[in-house]
């Protein structure tokens, strides 16, 4: 669990190679609780990336252990997961940092290459 508000941005960065899947999962759960298959389909729809089952559950397990998501009661053998307040803060900080990179890249492209 992050200690201070200022640490939020570093939480997902600390996931290393799992940061990508973790960001996609948190972004999907920002829309409401989902179980594994619904998560896969949602991520595929909005990001064009299909999370393989093993990778998805590795990331879910990490996110759960960090308190960024929580498991709800299972329904018909499928367990939904929900974004926590800590997870929402971490996702916001991570996406803000990514947006700064995106904005900078697009601005420089426009200045030097005439496209954006």
């Amino acid at each position: 669990m992050p200690k201070r508000d200022g640490d939020d941005g570093a939480v997902l960065a600390g996931f290393g190679r799992y940061a990508g899947p973790a960001t996609l999962i948190l972004s999907s759960l920002a829309d409401g609780p989902k179980h594994g298959y619904a998560l896969t389909k949602d991520v595929e729809e909005f990001a064009g990336v299909r999370l393989a089952p093993g990778t998805l559950y590795e990331a879910l397990s990490r996110l759960e252990s960090q308190g960024l998501i929580e498991a709800l009661e299972p329904a018909e053998r499928r367990r939904p997961y929900r974004l926590t307040a800590v997870g929402a803060a971490a996702l916001r900080a991570h996406l803000d940092a990514q947006r700064r990179v995106t904005d900078t890249g697009l601005r420089r492209l426009k200045t030097n290459w005439g496209t954006a």
Binding site: H35, T40, G54, S61, R62, P74, R77
Partner: protein, 337 residues
């Protein structure tokens, strides 16, 4: 043709039990849906195999990946258990190869050519490395033994009893078979390479590692052994593995203070360095085909068993280094909280 659910269940079995108990049902549902959508997918199989291996390594304390809540009471101790198993294997293999070579060195002629002098230094270095390894093992085991005795609980009784039984079998068996081979007959031979090592100690090490032999691959040699020897060749590795497994269980279950865990990681760093010297020596022996010393040809010829043992030694060393790093990171993270 197996059903979709059977295929999902088969993939699920690759994960450790604790992981399956927590995530198994929901993960199987996801796999069933995925298999129905994409009946043939090598990428999915590889992904599940990789993730399952990561989960198993995490349960063994070899990675920092999260494990299902409450499965590992103390992740640093799980890493220390893995360290104990890996270094135990390193020590057993090193002692087995060294005892055979050292006996050959003892029987080598006292005066050997100047070209063999470097080999003589390597033989002394290998002997010093094995003795240092044993000393480090004692330095690691004694404080853990004291901590276990100080905070003894019923959960520790079974592994402690198994460990005591396995060590007793090894001690009695090792003593019984100590001079079964003419080479270990207690005579010093002509070699003067290892004056500091008592011949009894050397013979006992050889007897404990009697299982380390190419005899297994030669039916005629194996059938020529008397039943007692054969029984010891089969029983001693079982006793050794049992002792290490019981020690690992004790380390994982015992209440060990953080300072002791930090001390153990420092001892492990030294042990890994010593094991590195032994891997290098074993590698030089296997690749050159000649023993690192003045021993004569056939007695210390590196064969398939030695090559396999050297490869296993290198793998065990890699696992030990990995477990030590994981233990250190876990301890640092715990200290920073």
């Amino acid at each position: 043709m197996s059903t979709t659910r059977e295929r999902a269940e088969r993939l699920l079995r690759w994960y450790p039990r604790a992981w399956r108990e927590r995530y198994g049902e929901e993960f199987a549902e996801l796999l069933v849906a995925d298999i129905e959508e994409r009946p043939r997918s090598a990428a999915r199989t590889l992904d599940v195999a990789r993730a399952a291996l990561t989960a198993r390594l995490a349960m063994a304390g070899l990675t920092e990946s999260p494990v299902p809540g409450g499965t590992l009471a103390n992740p640093a101790q799980a890493s220390l258990g893995a360290l104990c198993a890996a270094l135990g294997l390193c020590l057993a293999l090193s002692a087995a190869m060294w005892s055979q070579l050292a006996i050959a060195w003892r029987w080598a002629p006292r005066a050997f050519s100047p070209q063999a002098a470097l080999g003589g230094e390597l033989a002394t270095l290998a002997s010093a490395a094995v003795l240092a390894f044993l000393a480090l093992a004692a330095l690691a085991v004694i404080p853990v033994g004291l901590a276990v005795a100080r905070h003894f609980t019923r959960r520790l009784a079974a592994p402690a009893l198994v460990l005591a039984a396995a060590v007793t079998v090894l001690a009695l068996g090792g003593h019984h078979f100590i001079y079964q081979w003419p080479g270990t007959g207690g005579a010093a031979g002509q070699g003067a390479l290892l004056p500091a090592i008592p011949s009894g100690f050397l013979a006992f090490t050889w007897s404990l590692t009697y299982w380390f032999s190419s005899t297994w691959w030669h039916w005629s040699s194996l059938s020529a052994l008397n039943p007692q020897d054969l029984a010891w060749m089969a029983a001693s590795p079982v006793a050794l593995v049992t002792a290490v497994a019981a020690a690992v269980t004790l380390v994982r279950r015992a209440e060990l203070p953080p300072r002791l865990l930090a001390y153990e990681t420092r001892i492990a760093a030294l042990a890994c360095a010593v094991a590195g010297i032994l891997v290098a020596g074993g590698g030089a022996w296997v690749f050159s085909g000649r023993p690192p010393g003045p021993a004569q040809g056939g007695l210390a010829h590196a064969g398939l068993t030695d090559s396999a043992a050297t490869a296993l030694l290198a793998l065990a060393l890699a696992a030990a280094c990995r477990a030590r790093e994981t233990a250190l990171r876990t301890l640092r993270r715990r200290a920073s909280r």
